[in-house]
Amino acid sequence: MKELVVENLSKVYFDPRLGERVTALDGVSLRITPGEFVAVAGPSGCGKTTLLNLIAGFLEPTSGRILLDGREIDGPGPDRGVVFQSYALFPWKTVLENVAFGPRMRGLPRAECEARARRWLELVGLGHVANRYPRELSGGMQQRVGVVRALANEPEILLMDEPFAAVDAQTRMTLQEELARIFEERRPTIFFITHDVNEAVFLADRVLVLSKGRLREEIPVPIPRPRRWAALVENDSFKALVGRVLQAVRTA
């Protein structure tokens, strides 16, 4: 596992229609240690997606650097798995083929790719839909596939951009618990973006509050794991932390 370091990162968009520049990120620095779960919360338009896209390598920074294990990143790569809000499953591939995609791109033998994909699907209880197409699945199931597809590729760090924002509240809580369980068992490094303060506190070891392109506050979440909603909804320290993060997001 490797450490992710973001140094003084800025991103300025040029909006050609307005002929203007928009500063989306302004000198952001952060560090994520291996096996850590970091959530970024902040109001809409504060630059969360921009930050994630920069780390994923989808965008080029205007200035600053992003280092993974000491090496500056150069475009997207399999060391950083991404889970998208829109799921982004390949509609012309079956669930199994979607999950096997990453290993296949690495040139692993087909049988091994499929075996690995199947193992991961079983893990989240999706073994029975392996041969279906994504459109035949509910939103919650599709996003499970999205998460598993990223994990099956064994990235150094998992980048998730509001992955559960498009599913209903009930399913969202199930997915959050599932992600917490996977994290507790396997300890991947996760960089998680959300505007849902409850979600941030429930999942993360540390919540970063972003506002107008700058990091405003860093709030550690010392709640012990395993975390489950049933136990936490009435938990006072959880509620206090949620209040603190909410306050930070509001006033930032």
Binding site: L9, S10, V12, L18, G19, R21, T23, T62, G64
Partner: protein, 275 residues
């Protein structure tokens, strides 16, 4: 602390200007891509990569077009072509629409006639030309038949499709509200199928325009297609290109200013187009 936003460069300013202008005046967005094309054309012609007689430049073509327009030839031929298209299209709709309704409303008619429709549509306009010439000779009868034939099928097929895709509950609902058969036809079936009918009309006119040109090239005595064929016989590439340009421009205008908005309007009004 990152550096402040760098200044907007001149190039970016230009891009912004273009995008805003193109948004305000849609015509700019349509014409824009032709500028580099014309420049490229001009450059290739100017360095005489091909012999000028074979590959005239845009200026030459424009000059010839103006000459032809000045002499009145271009206008007269264009008028001939458009009138043929209009008359043919009107007749094609007059035949295609009722037939389409019949095929849409009656399962039996659909079952019996649909294979024939498919087959005759597959023969296509052009293959009819030889026997039409035998029947009507070179001239108006042949050309009218070709256009009517070409316009008819897309109208017919799309109308049938439109009628058949109306949810069955609608006419039932209308009937249970006491509507007569004629009222159901005019209040439910026709409006429901209208978006498809317009699409059929648009396709039909597009095919009809092409068929007209082909017919004029092969059997014509006037019209833009004839002008091109005449120029071909005289070996004047310039005049052939004038014809090509006129064909493309006229059709683009008709299609994007009349037919496409019409199609979009009916589709949107009925909530069938998602965007």
């Amino acid at each position: 602390m990152g550096p402040g936003p760098p200044d907007v460069t001149a190039l970016e300013r230009l891009l912004g200007l273009w995008l805003r202008a193109a948004e305000r005046w849609r015509i700019l967005a349509t014409l824009g891509p032709f500028v580099p094309l014309l420049l490229l054309w001009w450059a290739v012609a100017a360095i005489e990569l091909f012999p000028p007689a074979f590959f005239p430049g845009p200026l030459e073509v424009a000059r010839r077009a103006l000459e032809l327009a000045w002499k009145g030839i271009l206008g007269a031929y264009l008028e001939d072509s458009l009138i043929r298209l209009l008359v043919g299209a009107a007749a094609g709709i007059a035949v295609g629409l009722p037939l389409g309704l019949l095929l849409g409303l009656s399962d039996r008619a659909h079952r019996v006639l649909w294979p024939l429709v498919l087959f005759f549509q597959a023969i296509g306009d052009i293959a009819w030309l030889p026997i039409l010439i035998v029947w009507f000779g070179f001239g108006l009868g042949t050309m009218t038949f070709v256009i009517v034939y070409t316009v008819m099928f897309p109208v017919l097929m799309n109308t049938a499709l439109g009628v058949r895709s109306i949810p069955e509950v609608l006419p039932r609902a209308a009937a249970s509200l006491g509507a007569s058969r004629a009222r159901i036809l005019s209040e439910v079936v026709l409006p429901g199928a209208l978006p498809n009918i317009i699409t059929g009309l648009r396709n039909g006119l597009g095919f009809g325009w092409r068929a007209l040109v082909a017919a004029e090239i092969i059997v014509g005595t006037s019209g833009i297609g004839f002008m091109m064929f005449d120029a071909r016989r005289a070996g004047s590439v310039t005049e052939v290109v004038v014809g090509l340009a006129v064909l493309g421009i006229v059709w683009s205008i008709v299609d994007s200013w009349i037919l496409a908005p019409l199609e979009k309007a009916t589709g949107e009004r009925w909530g069938l187009v998602a965007r």
